[in-house]
């Protein structure tokens, strides 16, 4: 009978900076064989229950110490595992390479700061981090994963490292995308996603050719890119965002339109009116709402999604008319 397995469990919001701050030791290492441990599950997580969960020990071979003092080449780490299916813990597995954020539970035993979140998988034999400051060191470690991970078999690892790297909020060196490794679209897109998450609006321009058409190779990083683009609020990105609204990838077109809806720019109203002609209804809706939020005096001009979908013409038409009358009024 299989002893593991779980179903869907939402992962909590992870603030890398906070997790890093809460950790006494941050290490990159490789998980070794299990070891016997004696620790109460309640010390590992408040929701753990001895009836359903057990503590599992693992010996971790340290590749790199990013914060604190691990005091040895290997350390014993305690994680949780459900005795029955459906428990939310993600136990360590032999052979995994990880970045672990640890705190002491019963020296010399360490436990992950966030046992319900999956550990960050990394690659072995990484170059030593060049910066001493913990967050910068972590960022450097993760950047190397993004640059070196196999985009085929290890695409998941690449994306996970990119996500964590984006969580640091630190800017990346955008010039790096000129290096040969970034000729691969997935890696390039992941790098740009990190940059955009850090507010580097200049990363929009190299993104445009990547999304000129539907590009399945970069689909794994869409979950990082789409929110990063949609949350941009820098007016200097206005023109490039406008270009992205014509992307063959509708998710990207939507993200760009969403950002335009919320950006303060002198041409915003005019361009939003132009987006009313987009082939994507999701883009057109963002245009309608952007206009409604700027010009609240068009009565009933900002419908909820459901109402809009039921009778789109009822809402788009008046905005076109409004714009035409504005233009007419402005003409001498």
């Amino acid at each position: 009978m299989p002893d593991g397995g779980s179903s869907g469990a939402p992962l909590p919001a992870v603030d890398i900076g906070s997790v890093l701050g809460a950790a006494e030791v941050v290490v990159a290492g490789t998980v070794g064989p299990p070891v016997a441990i004696d620790v109460s599950v309640s010390r590992l997580h408040a929701r753990a229950d001895a009836r359903y969960d057990e503590a599992v020990g693992s010996k971790l071979a340290i590749l790199r110490t990013l914060k604190g003092d691990a005091r040895a080449a290997t350390i014993d780490v305690a994680t949780l595992r459900g005795r029955v299916p459906g428990r939310p813990w993600a136990p360590l597995r032999d052979g995994q390479c990880l970045v672990l954020f640890l705190h002491s539970v019963a020296p010399p035993l360490w436990a992950p700061v966030m046992p319900e979140a999956p550990a960050l998988r990394t690659l072995p034999r990484l170059r030593a981090p060049t910066a001493a400051e913990p967050l910068r060191a972590l960022a450097s470690e993760l950047e190397q994963v993004v640059e070196r991970a196999d985009t085929g078999e290890q695409a998941g690892i690449l994306v996970e490292a990119a996500l964590a790297r984006a969580g640091t909020g630190l800017p990346v060196d955008l010039a790096a995308i000129e290096r040969p490794a970034f000729a691969e679209h997935l890696r390039r897109a992941a790098w740009l996603a990190i940059a955009l998450a850090a507010g580097q609006t200049e990363a929009l321009a190299p993104l445009i050719p990547l999304f000129a058409t539907t590009n399945p190779t970069i689909e794994p990083v869409l979950a990082l890119l789409v929110p990063a683009v949609s949350e941009l609020r820098d007016p200097s990105g206005f023109a490039n965002l406008l270009a992205l609204t014509t992307s063959g990838c509708e998710d990207m077109a939507w993200a760009a339109a969403y950002a335009l809806r919320h950006i303060d720019h002198p041409r915003a109203a005019a361009e939003l009116v132009g987006l009313l002609e987009s082939p994507s209804q999701r883009v057109r809706y963002q245009a309608v709402m952007g206009l409604a939020e700027r010009e609240p005096n068009l009565i009933d001009g900002g419908p909820a999604v459901q109402r809009y979908g039921e009778d789109e013409a009822r809402y788009v038409g008046p905005w076109r008319e409004w714009w035409h009358s504005r233009c007419a009024a402005a003409s001498p």
């Binding site: 299989p2 869907g8 939402p10 992962l11 998941g156 999701r282 999604v305 038409g317 008046p318």
Partner: protein, 396 residues
């Protein structure tokens, strides 16, 4: 006679507007549309805030004489008059609005029923701007009036409405997550003049009211969400003031009740460690009914509607019952559901976990609710079927 003076914090996504059906207010709204300064200021007022600080910002709703702030020359950096109601003696201090509707937001100017209506500045019958030059002074009597009581010109009260805790209103179907206010205190003053404040929800009372009633009295009331708005600013609140000195005034204000409405799939990522395990992350963002991503972290929970899972692969011995439904506080801009399968004895798995390919082994339907951590609580926003394939998990 009534005069409304209105100033709103442009960063707080509020709009002031006249009472529904008030032609004078409509005319002034049209003036605001044509004002470049007005447009400029409103660009900063879109509901894009992602900080709790904005949610807690107090809002001053009233304050300047009518013609201040509507001028195109006004600075966007200064408080701005958004709209105002003209003094109209015929209303006797009472707005000409209709009572709260039965659910659907009504256009303020029903000239184009069923369609959004640009306010036009040509409203026939719009009262002329009246700046009471003799407010508070008795009118000189004419010979014809000799011997008769001389009606005094009604005094104008400068009514100030405030939302000291901000203007956001949310509805989570009974949930009350931190940072998402489901009610807002509203305050009114009349420059210290003693009197009575009467509040009414004149439009959108099916979306918010004063705790069960569309009317309330007193200087402070609480506007409570009841259901998601159907359109932006479809809850209109009016406060009328009657001073003990006979002065009158009114102010109006519009709100939007936001609610989580749907989730947008952002992507799926699988890490496969066959034959012992796989982990699939299915990522989403969470939007309100206006397709705006929720502004701050929010609790969500999953509810499985069928237990145990359906065995799609005959003879499987994969785990047959989910024990614990999950919940978490997530970032609504991007959160992930983890669908995993693992075993320490892979040779016993029927069928085995594969590196790629294979068939669907088991599945079960369920849904996601937003606003509370307790299983089955909060507003239902997404139905999914959890699927466990041999090489990956999925949401269908």
């Amino acid at each position: 006679m009534q005069v409304t003076h209105a100033i709103a914090d442009p960063a707080a996504m509020l709009q002031l507007q006249g009472s529904a059906g008030n032609a004078a207010a409509t005319a002034l709204l049209a003036r605001a549309v044509g004002s470049p300064a007005r447009r400029s200021a409103l660009r900063g007022s879109v509901p894009s805030d992602t900080s709790a600080a904005t949610a807690n910002r107090g809002v001053l709703i009233v304050g300047a004489p009518l013609d201040e702030g509507l001028s195109p020359e006004s600075s966007p950096a200064e408080p701005e008059v958004l709209t105002s109601e003209e003094p109209t003696a015929s209303t006797g201090g009472q707005p000409t609005s209709t009572p709260a509707d039965g659910g659907a937001p009504a256009p303020a100017t029903p000239t184009n029923a069923g369609s959004p209506s640009p306010a036009t500045p040509t409203n026939a019958g719009s009262p002329s701007p009246a700046t009471p030059t003799n407010a508070g002074s008795p009118s000189p009597a004419t010979p014809a009036d000799a011997g008769a009581p001389v009606p005094a010109t009604p005094k104008v009260a400068h009514v100030v409405m405030m939302a000291p805790s901000g203007s956001e209103l949310w509805w989570f179907d009974g949930g009350n997550p931190g940072g998402y206010p489901s009610q807002q205190p509203l305050q009114a003053t009349a420059a210290g003049t003693p009197g009575t404040f009467r509040w009414r929800v004149v439009r959108g009372a099916s979306f918010a009211d004063f705790g069960g009633s569309a009317a309330a009295t007193g200087p402070t009331v609480s506007l409570v969400s009841k259901a998601p708005s159907a359109a932006l600013r479809d809850v209109a609140v009016v406060v009328d003031f009657t001073g003990s000195d006979g002065s009158t005034g009114t102010a109006s204000f519009s709100f939007t009740v936001r609610a989580p409405h749907h989730m947008t799939r952002l992507g799926t990522e699988t890490t496969n460690n066959a034959p012992t395990s796989y982990s699939t992350l299915v990522s989403y963002s969470i939007q309100d009914q206006f397709a705006t991503t929720l502004p701050r972290n929010v609790p969500i929970n999953e509810k499985w509607d069928v237990k145990p899972p359906k065995a799609d692969f005959a003879g499987t011995n994969w785990p047959s019952f989910p024990l614990l439904e999950g919940s978490a506080i997530v970032n609504p801009a991007k959160w992930s559901d983890e669908v995993t399968m693992s075993t320490s004895t892979p040779t016993l798995m029927i069928p085995p976990i594969l590196a790629s390919g294979g068939v669907l082994v088991e599945s079960f339907p369920g849904h996601w609710q937003v606003g509370q951590s307790a299983t089955g609580a909060g507003h239902r926003v997404l139905d999914v079927t959890w699927q466990f394939f041999q090489d990956r998990g999925a949401h269908a």
